[in-house]
Each structure stands twice: as structure tokens, then as C-alpha cells.
């Protein structure tokens, strides 16, 4: 709102003409409150900060090979070897070396996307995203495992009406609690309703208030655990920075700030505070996206430092190095990998 001249002033001579010119500019750039952009979904509030500060660190060796057979169809082979942490009762973490191979197939079309993965430890993952007609879209997600009660299926229908879109989720009840989710979004707002077994009910709503600012709130009620909570969120974004904040009555308060220093560099910080258990975590990190490499580094107030480097050795050949040092727990994890295709 720079250059805004309050209407009651009288100026003389040159100043008047320049003020007139500024006023005209303001009229042209006047915010059209009827035409605000659609805000991002409530769950993705901290998306930029998470991209920079929480990439996928891994331990051990990783090799991914993707071979495209067609323009639309590709197969992927992936080998992962390394220690896996087993959650144990004592404070010592037990690491057991495991290795597995994963085979996957992807079919990507304009209207359809099908992804399937099968692992050597008996897990099968499948994801489908399909635009059945212009108005109706389908998303499905299925997972089968060896362990009992861990398999689940999720279906999601999206029906777009002129100003809104409804989506229903159906889960096969297992341990997961969702039974139905409805997403309605209009031109400048989004809302979501969730229903689950065990009397779980949740709703969230987010709306763009100005072209840069969007505010939202969420409410949830879990009858089984007799818990309910309210949360508020706000997000301010410009070309150069994104600031997001979230407060919930479960005690969680999270603020994040990402600044795009240049085309290649962006810096991010994150502040998480649980005001019920008085737990504070601050983290700061950088994200350098250069031509030959992408480097993300982060340092934490829990004494944890980590970095992830993806370097382009050749066309289609990426070399990945991941390091995580936890000075407090004296736990060091390093990983290397190669991605082809």
C-alpha cells in the first residue's frame, strides 16, 4: 500500500500531479476482493518450510532405477540396505540391518495416474488418481501388509460443481479412524469435514482474506478419548517470503518463515512450542538449488544437525548423500544413494 494518499489532503503544484498519478496507479492495482486466489489446503500450511527443513533423510544405501518403457509407462527398481531402528522399551535404540528390494510400475497419462509398488517384505502399495469425467475425479489408495490389521483401502471421490467441489473418502476400517472425508472448495476458500469410527469428527476451513493473507480454523472432537480441540492458522505469502502460524488447543503452536533470498537460495526457520508440556524446538535451515546440485542443511535446538545433497553427475544420474548428527543422543546416521532415471 505504498504511495497511498489520504483523501483529505490538499497539495500544490507538482506534488498534486504526482499524487494524482499515484492515485491512478492505486486504482488500477486495487485489490479485487471478489477474485482472490484459492488458498492452499489446511494440512499443507507449512509446505515450503517442510520442503526445506524436513527432506527425506535415510541411513544406509539406496539405489533407484527408473526405466521408461513408453511415454506413459515406466518401471522402477529400488534397493535399500541399511540399519532400521526398532522401537524398543529401553532408552537404547536397537538397529537391525535390513535390506529390501522394491519393484514398481507407473502409468501416467493426462487423465489417469496409476502407481503400484511391491516390496520384498510382503507389502503392496497402490495409488490411483483418475479424472473419470470433467467433473468427477477419483483417488484411491490401498496397502496390503503381512501383519494383521494393518491393511487399508481409501477411496476418494471429487465432484466439482461450479463454485465448489465435494469429495468423499471411504476407508475400510482397520486401525485407521477415518470413515468419510468431505472436501469442499470454492473460489477462495477450502473446507474439509472428516468423519471416523470411534466418533471422530473434524472440520477445517481456510479462506483467502487478501491476495497475500489467508486465515483458517479447525475443530475436532474425539468421542472415544473425550477430547476436543480448536485450532487457528494464518498464512501470509508474497513473492519473496512465506510466513505461516498455527495454534491449537492441544497445546501445539507452530510458526514458520521461509525467505527466498535469491533464485537459487532460500532460508527457512521453524518454531514449535507445546505450551502444555513446555517443549520448545527451533530449527533453521537453508536450501540451495543450484544447477548441478541441490543441498539442504538444517540445525536444530535439540542438538541435531543434518544435511542432504543431491548432485547431478550426468543426465538422469543423481547422487544422493544424507547425513544426520544428533549430538545429544550421540546418534550419527549417514546414507548414500544413486538415482537413475
Amino acid at each position: 500500500m505504498a504511495g497511498f494518499v489520504p483523501p483529505g489532503t490538499t497539495l500544490s503544484g507538482n506534488e498534486a500531479t504526482s499524487a494524482e498519478a499515484k492515485k491512478v496507479n492505486e486504482v488500477h492495482k486495487k485489490i479485487d476482493y471478489m477474485d482472490l486466489p484459492c488458498p492452499i489446503p489446511y494440512e499443507e500450511l507449512h509446505r515450503e518450510a517442510l520442503m526445506s527443513l524436513k527432506p527425506e533423510y535415510f541411513e544406509g544405501m539406496r539405489f533407484d532405477f527408473t526405466k521408461g518403457l513408453n511415454q506413459k509407462f515406466s518401471l522402477s527398481h529400488s534397493v535399500m540396505m541399511g540399519p532400521m531402528e526398532i522401537p524398543s522399551q529401553s532408552s537404547e535404540t536397537i538397529k537391525i540391518s535390513t535390506a529390501h528390494y522394491e519393484f514398481g510400475a507407473n502409468f501416467i497419462d493426462q487423465k489417469t495416474m496409476l502407481i503400484g509398488r511391491v516390496l520384498t517384505d510382503g507389502r503392496l502399495n497402490a495409488r490411483v488418481k483418475c479424472d473419470l469425467t470433467d467433473d468427477l475425479a477419483l483417488k484411491a489408495n490401498a496397502q496390503l501388509t503381512n501383519e494383521p490389521h494393518m491393511s487399508h483401502v481409501m477411496l476418494n471421490f471429487d465432484y466439482k460443481v461450479k463454485l465448489a467441489s465435494l469429495s468423499f473418502h471411504i476407508h475400510s476400517p482397520s486401525q485407521t479412524m477415518k470413515v468419510g472425508v468431505t472436501d469442499i472448495f470454492g473460489k477462495d476458500y477450502r473446507s474439509q469435514l472428516q468423519l471416523g469410527n470411534g466418533a471422530l469428527f473434524g472440520a477445517s476451513y481456510i479462506q483467502s482474506v487478501t491476495p497475500h493473507l489467508s486465515l483458517g480454523a479447525e475443530v475436532f472432537w474425539a468421542g472415544q478419548h473425550r477430547k476436543s480441540g480448536v485450532g487457528y492458522a494464518g498464512r501470509y505469502e508474497t513473492d519473496k517470503m512465506v510466513a505461516a502460524g498455527q495454534v491449537a488447543s492441544t497445546g501445539l503452536m507452530a510458526l514458520s518463515y521461509v525467505q527466498k533470498v535469491s533464485e537459487k537460495v532460500s532460508l527457512a526457520t521453524d518454531f514449535m512450542y507445546n505450551y502444555l508440556s513446555r517443549d520448545v524446538t527451533v530449527s533453521a535451515g537453508y536450501d540451495y538449488a543450484l544447477r548441478q546440485a541441490r543441498l539442504r542443511g538444517k540445525i536444530d535446538s535439540n542438538g541435531c544437525t543434518s544435511a542432504l545433497l543431491e548432485e547431478r553427475l550426468n543426465m538422469g544420474l543423481n547422487f544422493i548423500l544424507s547425513a544426520e548428527l544428533d549430538h545429544k543422543k550421540k546418534d550419527y546416521k549417514f546414507g548414500f544413494g544413486l538415482t537413475v532415471g
Binding site: Y288, L290, R291, Q292, A293, G297, I299, T305, A307, H327
Partner: protein, 159 residues
């Protein structure tokens, strides 16, 4: 045993000159206040110095490993980026290609920058300059087998 009374059997012989003579001058010095305070101060200093050394060592270790993980890859990557930019600048200046022009010269570069590897150590690159200059540059680069930096040596032929 030493604390048995003299009535019983054994007992340690009396220390010579224990309570009969005046304490030695050395004993005097040793028992004086200044010396004992000095000793206390010295042992405190040693204690503090040890702790300081240990904590400095710890801090140096943490700082060193953190710097190694956060900063060293960054420096290496930025250096490589700089080299790449220099190389491109050099290429551009050699072929005399101004970036402004109806047919952007970059398209010609990308089409012709196919490196054909002749053998493991040598590669040849043919690039065509923009239509203004009508010249073809053949560059042969040889790479040393063990290279820590991207040292290249090249010969250029202009037709």
C-alpha cells in the same frame, strides 16, 4: 595396630623428635597459612583448567563436525557453480556470442554440445557459432586420470 595403647604388646616406636623438639623450619613453612592457601589455589586452578580444556574440546568437536556437515558441501558446491559459470562465460566470449539476437545462440549451443567421448581421457566437442560469424570451433579436451579439481587442458581448432 598403631593405635594400640602402650600397655599391650607391640607399639610403634616413637618418632624421633616428635613432641620434644621444635618443628623444623620446613615443617613450619609447610604448615603455614600462605602455603596451604597457595596449594588450595593451585589445585583449584588445575581442576578448573582441566574442566575448561575438556569443555573446549567438546565444543570444538561439536563445532567441527557441524561445520563439516553443514558448510563443507556448501563450499564445494558453490565452487563448482562458480567454475561452471566461468566456463560458460569463457565459451560465450570465445565464440563471441552476444546474448541478444533474433535467433538465440543458446539453441545452437545445446544442439551442438554433444560430447563424443573418444576414449576415457579425451573428448571432443564441436560447437557452431551463431550465424553471424560462421565459424566452427572444435575443442579437444584431455583430462588427467586422477583429478581432484576439474583441470582440463584443451586445444582449439577454428575452421
Amino acid at each position: 595396630m598403631a593405635s594400640q595403647s602402650r600397655r599391650g604388646g607391640l607399639s610403634l616406636p616413637d618418632r624421633r623428635g616428635s613432641s620434644k623438639q621444635e618443628p623444623n623450619i620446613l615443617d613450619k613453612i609447610n604448615n603455614s597459612q600462605i602455603v596451604s592457601k597457595g596449594k588450595q589455589a593451585a589445585s583449584d586452578t588445575v581442576f578448573v583448567a582441566k574442566k575448561l580444556l575438556k569443555s573446549t574440546g567438546k565444543a570444538a568437536w561439536i563445532a567441527g563436525t557441524t561445520f563439516l556437515i553443514l558448510a563443507v558441501p556448501l563450499i564445494i558446491e558453490m565452487d563448482r557453480e562458480q567454475q561452471l559459470i566461468e566456463l560458460e562465460l569463457q565459451q560465450q566470449s570465445l565464440l563471441g556470442a552476444p546474448p541478444v539476437g533474433p535467433a538465440p545462440p543458446k539453441s545452437l549451443y545445446t544442439a551442438s554440445n554433444r560430447i563424443r567421448v573418444v576414449n576415457k581421457k579425451t573428448s571432443a566437442r564441436v560447437s557452431v557459432s551463431p550465424h553471424k560469424y560462421r565459424e566452427v570451433v572444435i575443442r579437444v579436451t584431455t583430462r588427467p586420470t586422477i583429478h581432484l579439481k576439474n583441470e582440463v587442458s584443451f586445444l582449439e581448432y577454428k575452421l
